[in-house]
Amino acid sequence: MRQIIIILALLLTASCNPYAAAWRTTGAVREAGTLVDKAIAEAAYAAQKRCVSKHGKDTGPYVDCVKGSGEWKALNQWRDKARPAINSALVATVTALTIAEHAKDKKFSWQLFLEIVKPAACGIARAVEQWKGFFGSKAQAIMIGVQAVKGLVCK
């Protein structure tokens, strides 16, 4: 009987930990971002291959072809703007979660968490929306990670 009470107490403690869901959600958002990174790299390589087959390598038209491609522009935009912004938001989310979890007040506000994780998750959603033409079927798989953020509304 005592063992059952201990197990029940364990179950109760575990089920009352809302931070677990928040950590999982943050992990899913980071994973979705990593998938975007891979998809954008693959798209850029595909554009390069297309330009090589059309113009040969290391020629002026080849350079113009790559530089003028939407995939190369997307790769640069992703690395220069979108990715750093998403990374900043992810760092802020992880920091806020760590601080909140260590605080004596164990109250957890899912609404507040959504506000903190929103810039990262919506940044990824925007990237997928903007470059879905380059991602093909991968776009849907990436969005599953972002959709893990239940209740999130991106404008």
Binding site: Q3, I4, I7, L8, L10, L11, A14, S15, N17, A20, W23, R24, T26, G27, R30, G33, T34, V36, D37, K38, I40, A41, E42, A44, Y45, Q48, K57, D58, T59, G60, Y62, V63, V66, K67, W72, L75, N76, W78, R79, R83, I86, N87, L90, V91, T93, V94, T95, T98
Partner: protein, 66 residues
């Protein structure tokens, strides 16, 4: 021991086994979250190695065309 006592013992035993299995599953899930938390705290950002490499590889061929 009567049949009723045996049945009650069996039911309690089954509940105990179910609870123990659930507790083990929760323990595993908790360990996974702890691992994820540690991983996120050490590396909170996106793994950007794929796009960095693509930029380096493709960019190298864009500098001095023949």
């Amino acid at each position: 021991m009567s049949d009723d006592e045996t049945n009650v013992g069996g039911v309690i035993g089954s509940i105990g086994a179910l609870l123990a299995a659930a507790a083990m599953a929760i323990q595993r899930a908790t360990a996974e979250v702890e691992k994820l938390k540690k991983d996120l705290q050490e590396q909170p950002t996106i793994d950007g190695s794929a796009s960095d490499k693509a930029h380096e590889d493709i960019g190298a061929g864009l500098k001095d065309p023949e």
